[in-house]
Symmetry: C2
Subunit: 198 residues, 2 copies
Amino acid sequence: MSAANIKQSALAHFAKNGYEGASLKHIADDCGIKKPSIYAHFSSKQDLFLQVLQDVFQRQEELMVAYFLNHTDWPLEQQLHGFLENRLQAYQLDDEVQFFMRMAFFPPSTLYDEVMAMVYPLLDQQEQNLSRLLASGCPEHGRIIRHPRDAAIAFMTLVDGIHLETVFGGEERALRRLAAAWPVYWLGVTKQKYNHKS
Amino acid sequence: MSAANIKQSALAHFAKNGYEGASLKHIADDCGIKKPSIYAHFSSKQDLFLQVLQDVFQRQEELMVAYFLNHTDWPLEQQLHGFLENRLQAYQLDDEVQFFMRMAFFPPSTLYDEVMAMVYPLLDQQEQNLSRLLASGCPEHGRIIRHPRDAAIAFMTLVDGIHLETVFGGEERALRRLAAAWPVYWLGVTKQKYNHKS
DNA sequence: ACTCTCCTAACTAACGATCGTTAGTTAAAT
DNA sequence: ATTTAACTAACGATCGTTAGTTAGGAGAGT
């Protein structure tokens, strides 16, 4: 039994039951080993959790960066829409997105600082990257994103709303949201000329 | 000490630490009573939790219904935008929204069915009400919502994205999202004429 | 008005189970 | 021969929960 197997099993339990709800006994049972054997690989439950956390956040960041790097030749519209689709199909592969969402928004209170130290940079970077991407506009359609920073924030709101639905209702419900919300977003962001009343 | 006080304290603990992370001892300490005294009012931790759950869901539903009933004379645009603002300021009053989000998306696995039996009807009703509202269009602007059902789903995606941000970053960050995402949504939904390319 | 009774809501003490964790041991692999 | 990774046994703490007790207030009967 390798440390990677234990982390994989722990990931599933942390994702489904949270930090406090996941017990080392159940994780060990999943691996076919006894509870104390975990301590041959990890110094504590905290240690196991924080290693899982780091792995997941690093991988999620890599996935998001890699997506945009691999599609710089696509039109902006396809890049953004494909990103949402990409996140959806990445979701059903494993429990990483559920874990990610749970820990970003409902971290174990005893480890709040440690978790947030990983969440904040990732979200900041995501917003920054999106702002730059959207600031480049979309000349091949003759459209211009007027407020790239706002468009980036709105996009992240959309990402979160769809992510939440994957956690809640699974892929098919999330696809329904994507199909309904994407055209609204794209139209709103490309034809943006809005005067908010008071 | 009344049952209402215990439920209020329990709500705070469940919202902050989840079902498994909240202990009856801490809840009792908050109330200034001893742990077993809780059992004079509730038959079990489950019972306490489910009563809190029912109270919160019922109140949240009432708040949402009441908002739209009290603003039928407003233009559609104001109704929807005001709803988002209303949800935001309701959030900081107490822990109800955090509790609501946590339990809707990360329910305690041992009580999954009981929680979902309350979540599903509320969300279905919300979508239905929004669909009807949006289907009525917005004649005073000369605008027509072309796909009211999709617009309702997109609005709920927006609601969730903003709700999530209140849980994550508090009111000011959520207001930032609202300011950025609302114009995008409204423009996208009023000028909807979109052909999705495969 | 006074006592007796009943009920409520708190208490203390303790239960068994499970929690994360440590110590000490063993068998296999390097 | 040394290290690795598993094991058993057991630790103290905390979990939710139950039993048994006690003080105080409400209502009824004399």
